[in-house]
């Protein structure tokens, strides 16, 4: 729409193109070329919402390349997800970027990292095709061997090939200080500010009209329909603080607990049209549309040759300006989340199993769901 050329073909061309690049890098560089084909099998009782029962099996080939010279690192990643059940869900992604990290003094390091990402879908989802440019700048300074601070600034701009309403740019400024104590306790205080700008928000929130659910593909189907005649620019800020405490028990066990609070100063009613498309939200950042708290705690430990990570979280989220589907009050969610990750490397073979249990209670019935996802991963590094 809006005169933009829609992307077609599901991005299947990207992977072979990126596979050729190692040849160029090999000719010029002297370090670290990596190729990682990977395969994941996933089963989920639900994808995003409880609108359909859904099971997915997909193959995820990936290429991961690194070229290193001195303080400069160039990296190139490409991956695909090829679903067995529905090719409409297939995606391809690629990221090309660089990182320049230099120790200015024994205590101070700077980092500059630009990257460019592409993400492409197939079939009806090509309206979510996007490209993103991001630039991160940071400085890290050790005041003492147990105390350091880090300042980070990051700008990014995401452009969607056929859905300008999802275009957005983001500026993040973040400061953190970590203190380590003899008791093996680390305390980290982090504060930051996100500023988001959507340059082309449709004035009429009904322009992203809901469509019927399609159970076979699992998509809750709220794709755009109709024509938007008026657009305007909308920007808002999101400050946040977080406090994290980590406790080591010997070298082999690590515990952590974290609290995060974020504030939305602005009413997000102008973004209601965007919020109606839950498929777009991960790309446009659901992270940046809620006000509330996140409590989390977890454990990490190598156990009998496996690496185990378990964490649980409780989120209380308010979406000021997003009214519920029945036209009622603003949407409010409470989410409970448990994740268990077990990994093991056997030579060049990496095996992993990731389990996620999620329960979302919402004042909007569209967002009430329970989800169980089990993902088996198998990767081999050449």
């Amino acid at each position: 729409m809006a005169g933009r050329k829609a992307a077609h073909g599901g991005g299947s061309l990207w992977l072979p193109l990126f596979l050729l690049l190692p040849l160029v890098l090999r000719a010029e560089g002297d370090k670290a070329l990596t190729v990682i084909p990977a395969m994941e099998l996933a089963y989920s009782s639900n994808l995003f919402l409880d609108s359909s029962q859904y099971a997915a099996t997909f193959l995820a080939p990936a290429v991961d390349l690194e070229w290193q010279k001195g303080d400069l690192s160039l990296f190139l990643s490409a991956d695909q997800r090829i679903f067995r059940e529905s090719s409409d869900l297939n995606t391809s992604g690629a990221t090309l970027g660089a990182t320049f990290a230099r120790a200015l003094t024994p205590r101070t390091t700077i980092i500059v990292s630009p990257d460019f990402s592409l993400e492409q879908f197939r079939g009806e989802f090509t309206y979510l095709d996007s490209n993103t440019f991001a630039l991160a700048l940071g400085v890290k300074h050790y005041f003492r061997p147990q105390v350091f601070s880090r300042l980070t600034a990051e700008v990014s701009a995401a452009r969607f090939s056929s859905e300008p309403a999802f275009d957005h740019s983001r500026l993040t400024l973040q400061a953190e200080t970590s203190l380590f104590f003899r008791s093996q306790t680390t305390v980290r205080l982090q504060t930051g500010f996100n500023w988001l700008r959507f340059p082309s928000v449709p004035l009429d929130s009904q322009s992203l009209a809901p469509e019927p659910v399609e159970p076979m593909t699992g998509r809750a189907g709220r794709r755009r329909s109709g024509t938007v005649t008026q657009i305007f620019s909308f920007a808002y800020g999101l400050p946040y603080v977080s406090l994290r405490m980590a406790q080591g028990i010997g070298p082999a066990v690590g515990l952590f607990a974290e609290f995060q609070r974020r504030w939305l100063a602005d009413d997000l009613a102008p973004l209601a049209a965007l919020a109606n498309d839950e498929w777009a939200m991960p790309g446009t950042g659901d992270t940046f549309t809620w006000d509330g708290e996140r409590w989390s705690a977890g454990l990490k430990a190598p156990l009998a040759g496996f690496d185990l990570a378990v964490d649980a979280a409780f989120l209380r989220k308010a979406y000021p300006g997003f009214s519920t589907a029945d036209g009622g009050v603003d949407r409010r969610d409470r989410q409970f989340l448990v994740r268990i990750l077990v990994e093991r490397s056997i030579g060049r073979l990496d095996v992993s199993m990731r389990t996620e249990l999620r329960r979302n209670e919402s004042s909007d019935e569209q967002f009430r769901y329970r989800m169980v996802a089990v993902r088996l991963g198998l990767g081999y590094t050449f």
Binding site: S77, T95, P251
Partner: protein, 155 residues
């Protein structure tokens, strides 16, 4: 050329050779990973720094780890590969190829490092470095969105 001149030439030749060997030894370029001499060592992180290794081409993370019995120097990995915020005093468990040197602290070329419950695999069982075949991001999804990759690594 008289005998004195020959003697001087031999002397300086040997001296330069010795100095060269000492320099090489000082930048640790003489050691290698011996899979048959692997040890596990636990202790407290006493210091960490970046040192140029392997003919000065690559900045490496080098740890000094102390236990009650001894002090070990640990060669970890290139800075770009190892991403952890280190702090002096952390409990560390290192597994790797041990090198005992009478004139210097014992040295470990780390294959695996465990800190605060997180295991970092650095080399395979034969000592082959994983950074030469695996990118720092360990997958493309980790890289999306400019997340300031490359942080950590001590300094």
């Amino acid at each position: 050329m008289g005998r004195m001149q020959i003697s001087r030439a031999v002397f300086w030749g040997v001296a330069f050779l010795a100095a060269g060997m000492a320099t090489c030894a000082a930048d640790n370029s003489f050691h290698y990973f011996d899979p048959d001499r692997q040890v596990t060592f636990s202790g407290r992180l006493a210091a960490f720094r970046i040192e140029p290794m392997y003919a000065g081409r690559t900045p490496f993370i080098i740890l000094t780890v102390e236990s009650e019995e001894r002090t070990m120097r640990v060669e970890v990995a290139p800075r770009w590969f190892f991403r952890l915020d280190l702090a002096v005093g952390m409990q560390v468990r290192v597994t790797g190829s041990g090198i005992d040197r009478p004139d210097a602290p014992a040295w470990i070329i780390a294959r695996e490092l465990v800190i605060q419950g997180q295991r970092y695999e650095l080399r395979d069982a034969h000592g082959f470095p994983l950074w030469s075949r695996r990118g720092a991001g360990h997958g493309s999804e980790a890289r999306r969105g400019g997340n300031c990759r490359g942080w950590g690594g001590g300094v």
